[in-house]
Symmetry: D2
Subunit: 374 residues, 4 copies
């Protein structure tokens, strides 16, 4: 369905070529200071048209808040916020009507729902994630306001080029306010959202694919700082399981890992286990963070570290073989127009949003944040 | 919480050293033929004491069905099934009371709930997964009965040793009844649940770790065959997202990927996209299965292929540094007794169970299986 | 929270004096013919300003559909529909800021959420039910399209004046298309939504209360026709229980009964039990409908008959004693402006909506209506 | 389905003639002192065989707790508790196989699920409410431990005989510890659970019906004391709506009202509205409690007062007309054996249980009780 979360609930709506896209965010406690700018700021991060790598479709995405605020604060009532669709390219979508694009949801949507708004990808369009980001913006504000939680996503790999920055390469960056700020600047200044110093290599890699009318994938890392101990549930609603679901609900994500992730399979227990100690103030500390912030599905106080695998944009100009669902014939397709040769940078703010919403929901359910009133 | 699923719901209960462990399975439609043996068969797969690699604790795990069946069939009423705990080792668990084991849930449980049944890992014990497997056994029966769906999990990597068998290495094995049957035999005959021919190497790898009082991890692959087109939802309850959550709810799993998974980041769009064609009978076919069975969160008719990263057993005999929560002192621990040097083979049936339960729930919600009556 | 239903889900948003009120309806299967008029028609029924008994606030309530439709049919995607708030009376709501009105939600909202949009009743305003009616309109269309289900609500009692029409007084009216149509006309032509012939008496009763700056309550009956056998669940999600919850979620409703309701306490078993028989076509029939359409929480094929008790409008001009939450002093209040002396007629369409949404949700969950596609 | 509640969740299982009936209670926070006796005490209240009015089936109903407790306290893990079915009467249930009893769920169950365990009413049997009462016992303990909440149900009407005691007749009884205790004694000593002084009249009324092989209904009132201000939600999950659903999920209940209930329809606004004042300690007080404890769906601090209509036991010895589902013939039935001529007293403890579970769930969700740990 189109609702995410149980107590902090984001219901998204809208199609790429409908009147509007947006979300109703229910369960945000009353008294959170919230402004239009808090949401707009996050929406701006996902806006395309910001570099040569993104589609030139100019999405102004000016958010309008229809409900739930009073005198600059939340009231505990549902917050409906949306963005009207303005600049729809007068593209000939008729072509796509019966010819599903390989790697796309065209086929499965069409077979599942029969009446399918194929224009611009309809409900499967990246544009729908405006709703995710609206939910994420409110969740981020709530988490920051209550626990000073900070969520940061960035690209660590593009195609075969691995960046020289990631949490496990430089964990100390995340322990210092200043270095963290500088990291954040690097992320949002770079069109690939990659704070690594070898980002030029990555750009060339993408440009080369563009020339061949092809696309590339990558890996995004997400870090959440200051999450208190105890978030998440022991059996089925584990923190890691919920985060995996949230991140996998982003189209194009084909894998999720936490902590050292798949590398854990190659470690010995004695290497993997994070040993504990008391520091001088008798705070519980860990000598490593291989677990990535959760033990037994519950946060243990260390940074939460996740990585997601993002597949190459399925829309490519290169000729591909496909089928015609009307004529029942095998055919070929060359997708026209400008398409992002890499979707990774646009996934970055959505990944932050999904982690924020997941944490907000679990922290309300877990008694960390009061469900009605701050 | 302790319930998984919305319409096919598994509620698990019990602790390692309590009276019983089990599950209430609600939402299984009436008229499914079901016997005690259907469940017992699956429970036997997770039973330890079957090889040198598993703990000698003899768990007979004889299941008792308390409700929900009438004249050999389900009635649509909740099925409560459980296993009484019989052979509890008279071990001195007092030692663990205040000394959380590194890599374990001891610490987070204790801090979250305060009153913690630490005996034998309590609620975090692998023993609790008896409930998962009960739910999975019923889900498997339902999926097989209605759509002839087959779910198969097996080990493809142990420590640094990669097996020579996996779905992408030999996809043709899954297209043939006979080769499939032979694959299944190989899996359950092998103590590591590994059908690769180089399994001896793996065994040696584990034995060496055992000698050093250490443990190793691995990778499990899960394949689901015959899932019809259309299972899963477009936005938040994507098939892949739900499966990721289900699999991540198994303790020890640190990563989940679908299809080519993390490898997708290195592919070009033209390589990643699975092209479609009509076969001679005008059935829709794909020229590859890089997506692993889902497009836009919805099943597309190809085998669903997942892999999970399993960390090394945290309980090791080697000396580790930890803390004493009572004395607030740093201390050391050497975990006594016999522990599985590798948890991977015991994860295999649980992974099957979680995939089965997730599919059953999504297929009932999606209108593929009638919610009340077959 | 602000979502109703599990599989047919209505999420309402908006405040009386905010920008808009509306709903996101999720889970309506694809391919249902649906137009703006289908929704507008239902909204018109709840519109005030239609008689001397209702507030003169002119609510045009023109609905705008933002998503979920394509070529005149639903697509299976969420339908966001809303009404912009235009005619807000420039009333001095400041007075109400600290002085909760007796019988109103002012006090409990204020204490629960602290930041309370008190203008015009805010979230507790009847205006919020625009969202309910939007959801109900879509549910009604779905029920009518799939099962020809008809839902009819009407007033049967106003203050102490009991009408001469109700289901149990003239059940035969509901068995005939023509008499049903005539009944419907009577309901919507009458300002009290009362098809009884003694409605004049009721009007005088209300007018007299108006003169005294007082208000009156009443009873509404709701009948649902053509609901198939088997809707509802045996234990906790009984059809009657879900309907009771839905109807009780209308502000002002203080009681719900099904079938003969409270009168059942005075009957003998032999009077209460509805005997069954086969008619000439071997259809199962009942000799009476005391149960009001459900047996053991499951629909049995007879008309579903419910009644709700609606309290008098709490906003009255008469002087009442109350408190000032700022000065902590006891005080008095005379609520200014025009208020409906009776809320009953405005409850009628909302009651229909809640029954429709409840049935739609249960029928999708119960396998009666396909969850994805008609 | 068979689960009630979102965060305090009761999943019931079992059939009248299966192996056991019971419940899994999930979401009870850790550290609540709880013993077997706490549950047994409540189960004893519903036990039949205590008077001439109840079936002589001797249900010992000794509860067994299988999980969730450690050292006399809850651990936050699910509590599975059950009662084994011992004394099943060797009755010839075959007769009922194809002949549904009027007023019973036999018909609707059979048509909905096809495979129906008809023995002793199966899943529709009153015996299944053992699970409700287990959940209620734990909820009551939690509510009492955290807020000193007291829930009391009792009979106020039997057939046409109205008792001389009810909340609105003597509200002062509920304001005094001693009179409350004496009230409670009266309730549980009386076989009809009726503290009215004219209970003899009621008994005679029932005996007369028994002689005619008939049955009678009645009305039960439920009062919850000390519920804090703010419980319940503004729109759909109103306190009154949730309570109505919970109470309507008891078989035999045909109506629910809160406060003055249906009588509200006859009152003027000026009579109905409960005026507020500050007492000498500046506590908010109400001059009446016509609302029955909720305003706008949220508790306002006054006692919560509910009444339910209980229909006469459908199982009667008198000859009734019915159908044979196998032969498709109209037939007659005289239900053999001893049946309760009145079910009202057995509903009393179940009504308490449903109110307790509903409050516990809403209070955890509303942030009144910590969801994990007391």
């Amino acid at each position: 369905m189109n609702t995410y979360g149980d107590m902090f609930r984001v219901t998204v709506f809208g199609e790429s070529h409908g009147k509007a896209v947006g979300a109703v965010v229910d369960g945000c406690p009353a008294n959170l200071p919230l402004s239009k700018e808090d949401i707009q700021k996050e929406l701006n991060k996902r806006r395309p048209g910001q570099s040569i790598f993104t589609t030139p479709r100019k999405e102004e995405d000016e958010v309008e808040i229809l409900s739930g605020l009073f005198e600059g604060k939340t009231t505990g009532s549902p917050i409906c916020a949306l963005v009207y669709n303005k600049h729809m390219r007068p593209k000939d979508y008729e072509k796509l009507k019966d010819t599903p694009r390989p790697g796309h949801a065209d086929l499965t949507y069409k077979l599942k729902y029969k009446n399918y708004d194929y224009r611009g990808g309809g409900r499967a369009s990246g544009r729908v994630t405006v709703g995710h980001v609206i939910g994420g913006a409110i969740a981020k504000k709530l988490l920051q306001y209550t626990y000073n939680i900070k969520i940061l996503a960035y690209t660590i790999k593009v195609g075969k080029i691995e960046g020289d920055f990631s949490y496990y390469k430089k964990p100390e960056i995340f322990e210092n306010q200043e270095s963290l700020k500088s990291l954040e600047s690097k992320i949002w200044e770079n069109p690939l959202r990659c704070p690594s110093s070898n980002y030029k290599e990555m750009e060339e890699y993408v440009l080369k694919a563009m020339e061949e009318k092809d696309s590339v994938g990558g890996v995004v890392e997400i870090v959440a700082l200051n999450v208190p101990i105890g978030v998440g549930n022991p059996i089925f609603n584990k923190l890691n399981g919920e985060l995996a679901r949230g991140l996998m609900s982003i189209n194009a994500v084909k894998g999720v890992e936490i902590g050292v992730g798949f590398k854990c399979s190659e470690l010995y227990g004695s290497e993997m286990n994070d040993e504990m100690y008391f520091d001088d103030e008798k705070n519980i500390r860990f000598r490593s963070n291989n677990c990535g912030g959760t033990l037994g599905g519950i946060s243990c106080g260390t940074p939460i570290v996740l990585r997601i695998a993002v597949k190459p944009t399925p829309s490519i100009g290169k000729k591909q073989r496909t089928i015609n669902l009307k004529s029942f014939e095998n055919t070929e397709i060359e997708i026209e127009g400008r398409h992002d040769p890499i979707i990774v940078p646009r996934i970055v703010p959505i990944a932050e949003a999904m982690v924020a919403v997941t944490l907000a929901d679990l922290m309300i359910k877990g008694g960390f944040i009061h469900p009605c009133c701050l």
